[in-house]
Subunit: 308 residues, 2 copies
C-alpha cells in the first residue's frame, strides 16, 4: 500500500534522519586520529563539534537519504554521503558568520563559532570541516563502487567551490556594494550558487548512489533545482514575515544589509506565487518515480511552509 | 649512464617543473566554469589566481613529479596531482596570512591576498582553492585507475585537515599563548602536522600514482618524513640567519612572535647537526631505488641549503 506522505509523517522522517546524522557526525568528529592523521588538537575538534553538533534540521542529508532510498540504496552509505554534505554546510555557516563576512553573533540561538572561540579558531574549524567532508565522501562505507565515490567527490567539490557555494557567497558580498558601486545581483543565479548548489547536490548524490538512469538523474536534478529556489524564497519571506524567536536569529537582516532578495525583486505576493509554481515544478519532476517520490514531494511542501 | 644529480642539474629540474605547474594552474584557474559549475565570479577567480600564480618554487608538486617518475608514471598525471597539492598549499598561505592568524602583509615580496583585496575575499579565495584541489585530484587525467584517485583524494584530505596541516596551524597559534597560558608546543609534532604533512604527501602521492610496493611506499614515507623536518629546520634557521631581501619577507618573525622553533629548542648548532642527520636519513631511505633516487637526494640537499 502506498499513501501520500502527510506533514506529520514527514516531520517524523526528518527527525529520524536528523538524529542519525547527528550521531554519525559525533562519531566522525571524535578526537581519535584516523590512519594518515597525526593528532586531532583538542581546541580544534571542539570548535568543529560545537559548530556541527547542534541539532539542525539536517535538510541536506535528508535529501540524500530520501533520494537514495528511491533506488533501494543501503541507508548507511547514504547517511555517510549526507554527513559529508553537512560538513560542507556547517563550514559555510562558520565562515559566513565571521566579522569580515556577515558579522553574525547568533546562529540557531547560540553564539556563533568566532564569538564562542575566536576568529582564527573559527576559520580553522571551517577549513577542517570542509577538508573532512572530502575524507568522508571517499570512504568505502559510502558505496562499494570506487567510480561512484569519485563521482560523488567531484560533484561535491563543484557544488561547494568557486562555481557553486563559495562563488555565490562572493556574489552576495559584491551585491552589497562592498567592492565599489553597488550593482543589484542576478538573484536567481546568486541563489542557485550560494544555497541551491548544495541542496541540489543532496538530490544528485542520491541519484549517483543509486546509479540512476539518465532520465532518473535528470528528474532529480530538476527536482533539486526547484527545491533549492523554493527554499530560498521561503527564507527570504521568513526574513520579512518571520518570528525572531522561531528563527533563532534576528528577522529583517536582509533589509538591514540592503540585500536584493526574491522578495525585493518580486514583492511578497509575487514571491509567494513563484513559490507555488516551484512546488508544482518539483512535483512534476518526480513523475518518473510515481508514489516512491512522495517523501520528496512532502519535503518540498515542508520547506515552502516552514516557520524557521 | 647514471650520474649523481648536481646542484645545477637540480635547479634546472626544479625550474622546469615549476614552470609546468604554473602553466597548469593557470589553465585550471580559468574563468570558464567546468561541468557542474554555474559561473566563476570574476573577483574570486582573480584573487585565486593572484594568490597561486606567483612564481613559487613549487616544491610540493616537484616532490610528486620526481617520486612518480621513479615508477615511470606519465608526467601529465603527476603534474595534475601536484597542482591539486599546490592549491592546498596556496590556500593555507592565504588563510595563515589573515589578520586574525599570523597578520602578514607581505608574501614573496607582494601584498598578501587580504591586503590586495580584503579579508572576506581572501577567506573565500582560500576556501575555493581548498575545494578546487579536491575537484582536480579526482579527475580522469590524474590516473586511469579510479581506486588510485580515491586513495590520492583521501590521503590529501588527511594531510591537509584536522589531523595534519589545519591541526598544525591550530597548535602553532596555541603555542603562542593565544588561548590562555602559553605552553611550549611539541615542536617536532607541530612541524609534522603544519608543514610536514603536505611535503610528505608530495612523496606519497608519487608512490600511489606508481602503485608502489609496500616496501617502496614505506621508503617514500620515510624519505618524506625526513624531508619535511629538514625543510622546517632550514626554515627556522633562515628566520634567524637569513636575509629579508632573499626571503621576500622580514626575517626574525618567529622571535618577534615568541615562537618555539627547532632553533629555540636545539640552538643554532644543534639545529644544524640535526639537519645533517636528516639528510643522511633521507638518503638512506632512498636505498631501494638505487640511482633512480638521485633527484630526490638532490632535493633534500637543496632544501637544507636554500637561502629563501
Amino acid at each position: 500500500m502506498t499513501t501520500a506522505t502527510t506533514t506529520d509523517d514527514f516531520a517524523t522522517l526528518l527527525d529520524t534522519t536528523a538524529a542519525e546524522t547527528e550521531a554519525l557526525l559525533g562519531t566522525l568528529l571524535s578526537d581519535a586520529p584516523m590512519p594518515g592523521e597525526i593528532a586531532r588538537p583538542r581546541r580544534l575538534i571542539e570548535a568543529m563539534r560545537y559548530s556541527s553538533l547542534n541539532g539542525g534540521k539536517r535538510l541536506r542529508p535528508f535529501l540524500t537519504v530520501a533520494s537514495a532510498e528511491m533506488f533501494g540504496v543501503p541507508r548507511a552509505g547514504a547517511l555517510m554521503a549526507g554527513a559529508a554534505l553537512e560538513c560542507i554546510h556547517c563550514y559555510s555557516l562558520i565562515h559566513d558568520d565571521l566579522p569580515s563576512m556577515d558579522n553574525s553573533d547568533l546562529r540557531r540561538g547560540r553564539p556563533t563559532a568566532h564569538k564562542k572561540y575566536d576568529d582564527a579558531t573559527a576559520i580553522l574549524a571551517g577549513d577542517a570541516l570542509l577538508t573532512l567532508a572530502f575524507d568522508i565522501i571517499t570512504r568505502d562505507e559510502v558505496h562499494r563502487d570506487a567510480g561512484v565515490r569519485l563521482a560523488l567527490t567531484r560533484a561535491l567539490a563543484r557544488a561547494a567551490g568557486i562555481g557553486g557555494m563559495a562563488g555565490g557567497q562572493m556574489m552576495d558580498l559584491a551585491g552589497e556594494g562592498r567592492f565599489g558601486d553597488r550593482e543589484p545581483p542576478d538573484v536567481a543565479k546568486l541563489q542557485q550558487m550560494k544555497t541551491g548548489a548544495l541542496l541540489k547536490y543532496g538530490c544528485i548524490a542520491g541519484a549517483l548512489l543509486g546509479q540512476a538512469s539518465k532520465e532518473q538523474y535528470g528528474a532529480l536534478d530538476a527536482y533539486g533545482h526547484a527545491f533549492g529556489e523554493a527554499f530560498q524564497i521561503a527564507d527570504d519571506l521568513l526574513d520579512v514575515e518571520g518570528d525572531a524567536a522561531a528563527l533563532g536569529k534576528p528577522a529583517g537582516q536582509d533589509a538591514a544589509l540592503g540585500k536584493t532578495t526574491f522578495v525585493t525583486q518580486l514583492g511578497i505576493d509575487g514571491a509567494k506565487a513563484r513559490l507555488r509554481d516551484l512546488l508544482q515544478q518539483a512535483d512534476a519532476a518526480l513523475a518518473p518515480f510515481g508514489s516512491k517520490g512522495d517523501v520528496l514531494r512532502a519535503a518540498a511542501r515542508f520547506v515552502a511552509e516552514r516557520q524557521n
